[in-house]
Amino acid sequence: MAIFSKKQLQNWLGFAEIQAQIKADCAREQERQARLIQQKCVEELISALTSEQTGDIWSDSWPELLKQVSKHITQTHQSIKKFESKQSISPEPVAKNLVGLPASSTEQNNELILENQQLKDRLVLSHQIFKSVQDVLAEFNPKLQEVIADTESGAVGVLTMISDVDQSADKLVQYLDMSFGEGQNMNANIEADSEAITSLGGFLGEMVKKLHDDLNSFEGVAQSIEALKDQVAVVDNISRQTTLLSFNATIEAARAGIHGKGFAIVAAEVRKLASMSSEASHKIGDSISQNHKYIQNYLLSFRASSEHDAEKVTELSEKASKLAENYEAQRTFYKILLEVVQSSNKELSRKIQNVYGQVQFQDIVRQRVERIQNAISAKQMILADVAQRLTDVGQQMEPNELNALKEELDRYLEEDSRHNAFIGNSALDVAQGQSEGMKIDLF
């Protein structure tokens, strides 16, 4: 039996070739595993990005997942680098050992090195893209936190303002209730005093009637006195006839002795006149007495009536004065009430405007969320394209994808900065901001 040295035996068995083959197999396996990990990471990422559930997209686990993806890619990258470093040393000795072996083995090895280099480039670019996505999400997260905080503070603001409006309105209602009571009391007083006006009307009616009656009475007295004129005329006639008779009697007396008969006729006439005179005197006396009595009675009645009327007038005057005071009070009451209601309405209007402004601010928050949503959609499209390229080995990776992501992020940040300018500002400020070129839509 021939004795071979270990080296002879190894060369004879082609051990070096086998060893190189094993190394190459190991490297392929490492690469395969690395690709599997990479593919798994990409699939997870795509699955999460294309999910329609917002909660999935904005899950808190996102940053962690991206870290893991980045870590896997880095590990894969390191494994390949490690493999390549071994390959960069090993090909030449292996090639020496492969002398005499089929040329295809060396070509395969070179292809593998090239493919590994391409894979490395793709992985480096993928790593950069995922890093960029991580940066984007890192930007979105605080922005969304800001939006949530703004929404919360906005909602609290609206509630506080509405509560303030409610308190003011409640205060006004209480005031109006109290004023209503005050007004009712005042009306009751005015109604009570307004009876004085009715009484005054009745009293004046009575006074007119009484004056009419008094006029009639005085006319009666005047007629009675007028009637006395006839009696006075009778007395006057008697006086004239008595004078005449007296003159005749004087004449007849001169002739008494001769014509005594004629004197007797004169004397009879004088007696007759005396009788008439006496009767007229009685009538005049009676009439004067009657009128005097009537006037006395009237004066007594008038005095009593006047005292009563004076009391009545005093009472009515007091009531009328009180009524005037009540009307003055009511005028002041309504003036004050009007001023308070007007002032309160202005205050309420101002507060409601503030609520309206705050509600408009909530709409601005909605626009911010909408911009984030639009930015996500744009990024999703870019990432879907990247994912397609990553899963398809034949596709070339485009460094422009990375630039597109960066541009998209920059565009979003620029638009969002316009919104940030309005945080804490009123609707009026926002409206004024429009003139400065701010792209905020107000309703």
């Binding site: 109290m178 009391n185 002041t332 001023e339 002032s343």
Partner: protein, 124 residues
């Protein structure tokens, strides 16, 4: 100690209130109507810490005074006082003043302690 503008048309009541305030160490400027009080402000006397104002006064009442001061941008604390005149209750007058921005109210007649307690609280 505070610089106080006292607005009241009743001379006796004004004297009594002024005495209470001065004895407590405050400086008091008097006005007998809302119109007079406005004249004080038009004369650039704005260094007041407090206004004590009656409600019902001739020329210009307390309600008008508060509205004018607001329009002039003067936002000093106001203590409204009222005894209820012209058939209007003190409650209505004082509530109206509160609605228009008076920080506190005091119905007439009031004691020295009541007045000074309210004043101290308002000038803090």
């Amino acid at each position: 100690m505070a610089n106080i503008l006292l607005v009241d048309d009743d001379p006796q009541f004004q004297l009594m209130t002024k005495t209470m305030l001065i004895k407590a160490g405050h400086t008091v400027t008097q006005a007998s109507s809302g119109a007079e009080a406005l004249d004080v402000f038009k004369g650039n006397r704005t260094n007041f810490d407090l206004i004590i104002s009656d409600v019902m006064m001739p020329d210009m009442d307390g309600v008008d005074l508060l509205g004018r001061l607001k329009a002039m941008g003067i936002n000093l604390p106001v203590l409204a006082i009222s005894g209820g005149v012209k058939n209007l209750s003190a409650g209505f007058n004082l509530s109206s003043m509160t609605m228009l921005g008076a920080l506190d109210t005091l119905a007439k007649p009031f004691s020295k302690t009541e007045l000074l307690t309210k004043v101290e609280a308002l000038i803090k």
